[in-house]
């Protein structure tokens, strides 16, 4: 059962930040609550005060902004899933949202919450990493932005300070010749924690890879990029042998564990298999035929 706590319902972002600044770390923000209520029930977190940020207008909205897409930290997964701009500019994120838990959870869970939870299995993380997304953290002292890759530290450890809120995520509009793909391998079609998830974004010109991003979930203490494979791909002609090599390099970049869902060996192998498949799919979208 839930422990006792005071619930504060601020009317604005500023009010919320004030409450956080005054009481952190014993104050926790709550938006959809799909992680936090479970964690409070199990005793993992026992905050004295919970700040409800779910309805703060400053955390809402999906918009174009200076050649970028800007998504509020409080945007729900369901909102991302049905947004035209996301579908058009970041299909790799839309695919991840489509496989996120179930419709009820998607209606409540927010993208900011999914990231700050610090789970290596966070469903939106690989896609956002592959999009080179930037995360905006705001406290009473001001705003700071950092690449999402620098945000994740370890299991349940992120760069967020206790007095900060995730106010936005931004990523660049896709260049022509961009292809992407996402796959989540779970033990059930819906409502399953990923065993391995892979997101790939490729930029290519006449079949030559200009930029590659490969990001994986559930195969390391945090969502990770296979930077060795990304570097290898850059400048290479997109073809089967290259994908296989990149997939093999990806398997070296991960450090999975064994648990009740799968063995480490399986996860490592699937990192390669799924990366190869996603590279193939993404390459096809770049408009290049071998």
């Amino acid at each position: 059962m839930l422990p006792e706590f005071d619930l504060v319902m601020p009317r604005s972002l500023n009010e919320a930040l004030q409450v956080l600044a005054a009481g952190s770390p014993e104050v926790l923000p709550i938006a959809g609550g799909t992680n936090l209520t479970v964690d409070m029930r199990s005793g993992r977190y026992e905050p004295k005060v919970v700040v409800d940020i779910e309805k703060l207008p400053e955390l809402k909205g999906i918009r174009r902004e200076n050649g970028q897409i800007c998504v509020g930290g409080g945007v729900t997964i369901a909102e991302l899933l049905k947004d035209g701009l996301v579908a058009e500019t970041a299909p790799v994120l839309k695919s991840a949202c489509a496989l996120f838990a179930n419709p009820l959870i998607r209606n409540r869970a927010t993208v900011g919450g999914n990231l700050v939870d610090g789970s290596p299995a966070a469903d939106t993380a690989p896609s956002l990493l592959a999009l080179d997304a930037e995360i905006e953290l705001t406290s009473q002292d001001g705003k700071r932005r950092l690449p999402l890759d620098e945000f994740f530290i370890h299991v349940r450890k992120t760069a967020r300070q206790p007095n900060e809120l995730v106010t936005a995520l931004r990523w660049a509009l896709p260049k022509p010749g961009t292809g992407s793909a996402f796959y989540k391998l779970g033990l059930r079609k819906a409502d399953a924690i990923s065993v391995v998830s892979v997101a790939v974004v490729l930029e290519a010109e006449k079949g030559v890879c200009r930029k590659a991003r490969i990001a994986l979930g559930s195969v390391a203490p945090r969502p990770v990029r296979a930077k060795n494979a990304e570097e290898f791909l850059t400048g290479k002609l997109l073809k089967k042998e290259v994908f296989e090599e990149a997939a093999a390099l990806t398997a070296q970049a991960v450090s999975p564990i064994s648990d009740v869902r799968a063995s480490a060996e399986y996860r490592r192998r699937m990192s390669a298999v799924l990366t190869r498949r996603m590279l193939e799919q993404a390459a096809e979208q770049t408009g290049w035929k071998e």
Partner: protein, 783 residues
């Protein structure tokens, strides 16, 4: 005229309440002055209790009382055993260690209650856990079954001097002689993994002791209301009729809710009498995983001896069965395994040995299937191994060894869970398999479809297996059928309902006899004030045993209708017709009397009661079968596997089933489909995993995955055969567990067939993509 009701696919009468949210469940019960109970449970699986100090908890506002084992004084007592020892089996050894209501001196499984807190709210009760100082000295946990048998690494019950819970050997024929004559002998080690019942609704218990009336009312999510009432009354020194047990609507049972003599039903009635306050306890999901019983978990060393033509000469099976920390439910599960191993095959010699062990895990009692899936899994694995060894088709070797109808009834020589020798009463096992092969287009699949798909590089495979389901066991059930002054019929039976559709099928049985509409039959189950004799809902026996008791009562009422109507209409009974809720003189429909009027006249009127006649249009009926009726069937499933990720799709699932007379085909399909979904869960999704410290790693629905609608095959294709049981007048056999029994066997065979190039032999019942990958890796290394 009322049309034929029995055997018709009428929709469920109870759904109007369930689907509109008006059904009353246990947590809906509110009583003025009610307080709440919460159990502080052990984190350790095996530990000595040094000290429990709850003095601080008592100071917390809203906390009313806290109790540990010591506080119950002489009232604290283990048990009793809910199912007696297997003394009917010669030479059997059984060490009774019934469940203790709350841990004393020692903790034997993770989740065992240490203290019970009573508070004004559940929140306060759980908050008070923080105030309780518990000092436990951890002991090595007994987890591995074979190590446990060697009394390693510790003893679960120190006073017993062994971890052996039971040793039971049964044999028919002479296996060693059969083995000596065999051309081929195949031995395998086979594991059956552990699953939870995971009913949608957890357990719950509400108790109200009325000091002035000197009566206790208990609402419980029990499958066994009458045994529950009897044990509560006996423990408290009350008469049975001072305790009323009521089962409200229950969200699924699947076995574990049969259990009595647990912390809730032992401790809370005693506390309610002390405090003179009603108490409610609603189990949460974590408690359900940790401390409600679950099942399976056996290790088999099995052997089959055959001629080179694939004729079975004998089977030997020595298996370790995990009973968990206690053995309150006797040996029901492993005895079911023994009776279902060879089941529908002709096996002249069969040796089977149970080595039941205590471990530091939750207690094992029946879960849908109850030992049957284990036996069937072992036998079907042996058949698969034999088919491969002898280069035979899996269907062919089965057809060759299935019993023929003229060999039935067959005494199996093996004593089962009901302590009588198993008898296969009736069935047409080959016909089941043949019909299945037609439905699944077996020949075409093997000769055309599968080769074509393989040529395309697809990994598609079929599993095809047979099974029996021993159902409808004793001891007995009873029912009372009464026609009311309103002309409608009320039925009361002792069993309780957890969603099976009893309100509908029982109404159909009665409506057919009494010439009323099914919706005019009101069925009450599981309320000891309405009917107080019987055993409970288990072993797929509701329709067959309680249904037959209801039928017997309805037939008596029917006779009474004719006898009474004969007096009032002044014609002999043969000239009376019954239907549409009334009786009339044959050929003279204007000379009629409604059943309601007849019921009035059968009661207070002078002259009705003569010697041998009881008042009212009412009768009580009972039915106790000599042994159970055996259903049977066959399953084929086709799966497609991604050969890299080992993700899997069920392309077709076909089941042919024979449960004798069908009361309601619609509900029967529901039962079969439900069982199949549980079987699919057991085979590919659901698995309880205990670590080396006896900690359950899968104690939430995050880690214990139930298959969902989207994981089911597009359709479950069901074929029926009807071989009526000679054991009861309606010819019914049970069906509740059918789908869960064969599915894991079919599943692993289908996976092996899909990945044929690796020549896999999968020795366990629960798979996952990672598991299949492991087996493929091993096979690749070998090859």
């Amino acid at each position: 005229m009322t049309g034929k009701v029995f055997g018709q696919p009428i929709p469920r009468l109870e759904d109007q309440f369930l689907l509109t949210g008006t059904a009353k469940f246990i947590d809906d019960i509110e009583i003025p002055g009610m307080v709440h109970a919460a159990f502080l449970r052990s984190d350790y699986a095996h530990a000595r209790i040094k000290k429990i100090d709850y003095s601080a908890a008592l100071k917390r506002p809203g906390v009313i009382a806290v109790y540990t084992a010591e506080d119950f004084g002489d009232y604290w007592r283990p048990g009793p055993l809910q199912v007696p020892p297997p003394t009917a089996i010669k030479g059997s050894q059984f060490n009774a260690r019934p469940l203790v209501p709350i841990a004393k001196d020692k903790v034997r499984f993770s989740g065992e209650p240490l203290a019970v807190v009573i508070a004004e709210s559940r929140y306060i009760a759980e908050d008070a856990f923080d105030d309780i100082i518990v000092d436990l000295e951890p002991l090595p946990a007994v987890v591995d079954l074979e190590e446990a048998w060697e009394n390693k690494p510790a003893l679960v019950h120190d006073d017993l001097g062994t971890n052996m819970a039971a040793l039971v050997k049964q044999e028919r024929g002479n296996y060693e002689e059969a083995r000596a004559k065999a051309d081929v002998v195949i031995s395998r080690k086979i594991l059956v993994n552990r699953n939870a019942a995971a009913a949608m609704e957890n357990r719950g218990f509400v108790v109200n002791w009325d000091e002035r009336e000197q009566e206790m009312t208990v609402w419980a999510t029990t499958q066994a209301p009458i045994p529950l009432r009897n044990t509560i009354a006996a423990r408290l020194g009350l008469f049975e009729n001072q305790v009323r047990v009521i089962t409200p609507f229950i969200g699924g049972g699947f076995g574990p809710k049969i259990m009595t003599s647990q912390a809730d039903d032992v401790l809370l009635p005693w506390i309610a009498m002390k405090l003179k306050r009603p108490i409610k306890w609603i189990e949460d999901r974590r408690e359900n995983f940790l401390a409600t019983t679950s099942e399976r978990d056996q290790v088999h060393y099995a052997e089959i001896a055959l001629t080179k033509d694939g004729v079975i000469l004998g089977v030997k099976d020595v298996f370790y069965h995990n009973t968990g920390a206690y053995d309150p439910y006797g040996m029901t599960v492993p005895l079911n395994t023994q009776t279902h191993t060879i089941s529908n095959y002709r096996v002249p010699s069969f040796y089977t040995e149970i080595r039941m062990v205590f471990t530091n895990q939750m207690v094992v009692t029946p879960v849908r299937g109850a030992g049957r899936p284990e036996g069937v899994f072992v036998m079907e694995r042996l058949m698969d191994a034999a088919a491969r060894e002898l280069n035979m088709d899996p269907a062919e070797i089965r057809l060759k060894n299935l019993l023929e109808p003229n060999e039935l009834p067959l005494r199996t020589g093996i004593i089962g869970q009901d302590f009588v020798e198993g008898v296969l009463d009736s069935g047409n096992y080959k016909a089941n398999l043949q019909k299945l092969m037609e439905m699944v287009e077996y020949e075409k699949f093997r000769k055309e479809i599968q080769p074509a798909l393989r040529a395309q590089g697809k990994h598609v495979g079929m599993g095809i297996v047979c099974f029996t389901e021993g159902t409808a066991v004793g001891p007995y059930e009873g029912a009372r059928v009464t026609i009311g002054g309103n002309g409608k019929v009320s039925v009361a039976t002792g069993i309780s309902t957890q969603g099976q559709g009893h309100f509908t099928v029982f109404a159909q049985i009665v409506a057919e006899q009494l010439g009323v509409k099914a919706e005019d039959v009101n069925v009450v189950t599981g309320d000891t004030a309405h009917f107080h004799w019987g055993a409970g809902t288990f072993a797929s026996r509701g329709a067959a045993v309680a249904g037959t008791a209801i039928y017997n009562a309805a037939v008596k009422v029917r006779e009474k209708i004719f006898a009474t109507a004969s007096k009032w209409l002044e014609v002999p009974p043969e000239q009376i017709e019954l239907g549409d809720g009334k009786v009339w003189v044959k050929g003279k429909p204007e000379q009629f009397i409604t059943l309601g009027d007849l019921a009035f006249r059968a009661n207070p009127t002078r002259g009705v009661i003569e010697p041998g006649v009881e008042p009212g249009l009412e009768a009580t009926g009972y039915y106790g079968p000599p042994y159970g009726a055996t259903g049977a069937g066959a399953v084929a499933m086709i799966v497609e596997i991604d050969p890299e990720t080992m993700e899997l799709k069920i392309k077709r699932f076909v089941i042919v089933h024979d449960c004798g007379t069908v009361i309601n085909p619609l509900l029967l399909e529901g039962q079969v489909e439900g069982g199949v979904s549980m079987g699919i869960g057991n085979a590919f999704y659901e698995k309880m995993v205990y670590d080396e410290n006896g900690q359950l790693l899968t104690a939430s629905f995050m880690d214990y995955l139930m298959p969902q609608a989207t994981d089911m095959p597009p359709k479950i294709e069901i074929g029926h055969l009807t071989t009526t049981s000679p054991l009861n007048p309606l010819g019914i056999k049970g069906v509740g567990e059918a789908g869960a029994i064969p599915t894991p066997s079919a599943f692993v065979q289908a996976v092996e067939d899909a990945l044929f190039e690796y020549q896999l032999e999968i020795p366990e019942s629960n798979l996952s993509p990672s598991k299949i990958f492991e087996y493929v890796q091993k096979a690749s290394k070998k090859g």
